[in-house]
Subunit: 362 residues, 4 copies
Amino acid sequence: MSSQYGHLFRIATFGESHGGGVGVVIDGCPPLVELSEAVIQRDLDRRRPGQSEIVTQRAEEDRCEILSGVFEGKTTGTPIAILVRNKDARPEAYAEMQTAYRPSHADFTYDAKYGIRNWQGGGRASARETIGRVAAAAVAKQVLKQLAPKLEIVAFVKSIHELVAEVDGATVTQEQVESNIVRCPDEKSVEPMIELIKTMRSHGDSVGGTVECVIRGVPAGLGEPVFDKLEAELAKAMMSLPATKGFEIGSGFAGTRLTGSQHNDPFEIRGGEIRTTSNRSGGVQGGISNGEPIFFRVAFKPTATIAQKQQTVTNAGEPTELAARGRHDPCVLPRAVPMVEAMAALVLCDHALRQRAQCGKI
Amino acid sequence: MSSQYGHLFRIATFGESHGGGVGVVIDGCPPLVELSEAVIQRDLDRRRPGQSEIVTQRAEEDRCEILSGVFEGKTTGTPIAILVRNKDARPEAYAEMQTAYRPSHADFTYDAKYGIRNWQGGGRASARETIGRVAAAAVAKQVLKQLAPKLEIVAFVKSIHELVAEVDGATVTQEQVESNIVRCPDEKSVEPMIELIKTMRSHGDSVGGTVECVIRGVPAGLGEPVFDKLEAELAKAMMSLPATKGFEIGSGFAGTRLTGSQHNDPFEIRGGEIRTTSNRSGGVQGGISNGEPIFFRVAFKPTATIAQKQQTVTNAGEPTELAARGRHDPCVLPRAVPMVEAMAALVLCDHALRQRAQCGKI
Amino acid sequence: MSSQYGHLFRIATFGESHGGGVGVVIDGCPPLVELSEAVIQRDLDRRRPGQSEIVTQRAEEDRCEILSGVFEGKTTGTPIAILVRNKDARPEAYAEMQTAYRPSHADFTYDAKYGIRNWQGGGRASARETIGRVAAAAVAKQVLKQLAPKLEIVAFVKSIHELVAEVDGATVTQEQVESNIVRCPDEKSVEPMIELIKTMRSHGDSVGGTVECVIRGVPAGLGEPVFDKLEAELAKAMMSLPATKGFEIGSGFAGTRLTGSQHNDPFEIRGGEIRTTSNRSGGVQGGISNGEPIFFRVAFKPTATIAQKQQTVTNAGEPTELAARGRHDPCVLPRAVPMVEAMAALVLCDHALRQRAQCGKI
Amino acid sequence: MSSQYGHLFRIATFGESHGGGVGVVIDGCPPLVELSEAVIQRDLDRRRPGQSEIVTQRAEEDRCEILSGVFEGKTTGTPIAILVRNKDARPEAYAEMQTAYRPSHADFTYDAKYGIRNWQGGGRASARETIGRVAAAAVAKQVLKQLAPKLEIVAFVKSIHELVAEVDGATVTQEQVESNIVRCPDEKSVEPMIELIKTMRSHGDSVGGTVECVIRGVPAGLGEPVFDKLEAELAKAMMSLPATKGFEIGSGFAGTRLTGSQHNDPFEIRGGEIRTTSNRSGGVQGGISNGEPIFFRVAFKPTATIAQKQQTVTNAGEPTELAARGRHDPCVLPRAVPMVEAMAALVLCDHALRQRAQCGKI
């Protein structure tokens, strides 16, 4: 279903930009996992608006409340409900959108599908929807700490517009990523990226880019053949994030320009284990992890909400012009990093449990 | 589950490269849809080995048998089971693979996951697995003919290695695609592509490329918010195909190098309908179709099976060398075209039924 | 998953007896359905404690808040989250249960399964869990009003202990059911039943009984063959309610003492429609509704919580005695009536949408 | 979906009474489980027609073929497809049913739902459908042998019409059940039951009865709270079998006539373990197994197909008379025993895997 994800670590998110709040219910979480609101808040803070000068200035604290499923600091195995209230909602800023369709937003398609839409701030199509995902993923990470203690997920800004960072996936750390507001671990790229974002905002324009994610310490054997291949699940998870336009794993699109003899990853024995000498597979072969680092890239389009005037139509079919007045991000990339990381955690946690179910191990 | 797909048009595929056969069980198919073995066979013939000189020469007729769910030429609403027997199985050609892991294949990961694997011809990881998908999709297309008669899906080879075709997605037809054995509708590209594939095979090597797919006549309103966005479902469906490394929709990765004002698709009234003047969204906004053509590209890596000798290890951890002797495709792209088309049909059929369920229309 | 129900009208409930609250998230609800907190509250009030002298005196108002999914009085098609805060929680009343297992409760089995349990007031195993179900069902009923306007669900107390009511399923109304605190539409039975419950409570004991439910105006064609037969789904739904021990539909267990010629329901034409002259099938044949009234009975055991001293053991394996001090129902039947009705509504709503999806009609 | 069952041990059945065959695809089966056609055949033989003089004389061998998912005698973790061909199909015997609706069969409801139906021998509503279930359950039992070696499932005929057997659930064995053609382990009841069935058949009539099932050696902790309670899953599983009208577990309907102090199961320490002194709970508390034997009863109505003339109507709305000429069972109970056992195995296998997934143990 549209707002539910996962086969065993199953989440149901809810909530709109404006209204009572947003959140998630998690079903199937293992019991006896340490969990507190502080653990969840840490990741929500990395996602929330207003955290730096280059993101939207909507003043949301995004304080989470655990409503159920945790007792004396540990999960009980029953549903974990997490609620974040909306605070700084300004529906009046969206009055114009009641009738005019914002270009490259979901206003028109929601109307076409449902015949009704909460036009205040994007409704369900608002990026506030991702709060439920990030909260659930904070729990998933706690589960993964138990199931696969060596596993670590590091996502970072790989490119913004034409600016491409140089990052070594084998060594990059979350500390490096979090050391600057653009979440790019390549020191040389940080200032140019920040400048570019500021310039775009001053022009009433926006930019896109790519997030790369590397997952190290993945046990071999996660994932499934056929439809639920690990790369397929990751692709879906990433392409379900707002503003995404592409996904590639390992050699990706560039790999189509190699020959088989150039592309294949030979096996060898290294450190007493079966390893590959290269990793164009991106850590996954036949849908199943092979123990090498998993790495993939996600394309995010330039933010659709821009201050420049744009041509559009109303729901009555009248041509009109529209210029955004709501608060918005001139570039979603810095805040996309924790979202990508969150979705990766949800995929891996679900597959770790599936592996334990079917094969009795992780 | 790994070999099941779809929420309402739900398929369960089965079968390995060698053994009793491959096939699919479809549950949830609407009743009273015209269906015959001939309809399914047409698409299986486009997928099957031995259909031309540039694909694998395994001699499989891939004749399908409908075991259930069809009565007097129409679906009954109960499960449709379709079986294709394996004929030209040569397990002896794979004897070496019993112990040696083929580079960039699923041999090692299946062993790591399951502790056992049918090593004859790739087992479940063989591309024969896609027979069940293509057969199910032939049924899905019959359903779509009823639910969305204007909808048409055309997939084609967009590039092989460095050779990139020029194709107009607005007009390309399946007839053009099927007019040559490489399934590229750009006449200028056909011969160079065929030559390249033959050259690669003669070198004991292989090549990859991209398939593009355009879906025209999609009603606005298909898809869902949040996790089951239409692009997310398409991404998963495509990345679940063997040998895929990337997916992009609309502007894709290149779109990250545009600004918002360049990238947004303005709305206008055209022909009395709300349309967009450009289509960088690729026909989907906020996870829901907007009535414009949906188009996306899928990256296929060069075939892992090559005749050149490669370094690898055995399941006992001994270094060894391996050169493929089984029959295989030097380039999967021509046969990937009907697979991409099939997965697109499965996604759209499922979402058409989901839309009818929730919103009472399509 | 354990706290999720439904294939298309999909609900995820959460919450424990003590803690932040209980509630539900509904995914897949059709758009444009009229909905307000008042509509939901009406059913919650029929379920809530303290509503009469013969039920538990826990003072809970059970006020619901719609957090999302409703805009200007109508559903938007996106997730509907409903929250009810816990108010009159008294964890201290349950201190003893921290270690001692209450007989015929879930204390021991939760510990055996999860290794942890929220021992305050029953935790997730408390009947407060059913708030989420009743709230979701209030929404389901609104959907059914649109999809099947003639459909009406009437549940009532059929028996308590040895007292059996005489009720005509063809004519019984919800008004009759709600006219007395025991929710039995047979006037003659009301006073004896109330007296029996009071007597049992004064003895520190409890009683069980049966709820019967009749669903009239069901369109023919709801339900499915094989696993998801309508009677199978109803059986699961009812047997998922706390304290249930049995389910029977139509002729039920008594029907096993008839011969086929006595039991079969002959068809006839009545009022221009195909009808049956008897209804031992209980409105369902081969898993699919036949247009006759659906009726079934559910057995509820006597409340496990009693004030009399009982033999038990502690989680450390020590024998001990336990006498309930928490507030509880001496008989769950009066409050079980809206729960049975709720589960019936959830089953029918889901199947109405499934029918619309597959067959394009309801 | 209607012909799919299970969350982790997921089966998809297919096939009709007449046509290519019936069978099942199992997804999610653990790898390395011993499996052969002989193991499956053993259970199919207990279900098949023609096995004795008191069941239908349709001459079906029901030979199964494993099409996939097994390699060198062990499951591979990939889909297991099992096919049984139809042999003794006699569509001509059903010509009359093409238009006339058999009373208390699914003919009318299938038409009402789907607008089409395979009228040959009951189509999908034929009891042949259960072949897929029994085959899948034979695999499930092999899995359970590994996961819960002490678990044993014994189902038996508890009553036929007014004849009630006396059976001790603590000691009854499958050998006792299989020692006679009526599958009743109470020696005194066997002859009267057989006589009754023969008498009914000679009258062109039929009888119903109850099957009881006891499951011993169940580890504590299987099952789930709320919707997927073990008793709810068992109820659904049993009520999905053809001809079932009721389900009760433990004290069942009779338990509603006890008081709480009579009904509760006190805990004690026995053999160093936490046990209950009585077992009115039927082995399940709060939806989760408590380690005591699980036992339940299922009501089967008298066979709807009888040789006596019955009043009915045609699909054109004309009154007519109908007398069965197809081969059929005068009493389904003897063949229902392996079906009940099969469904119990499917429920337990799925929950054993769910338990391993969430709690890391069984």
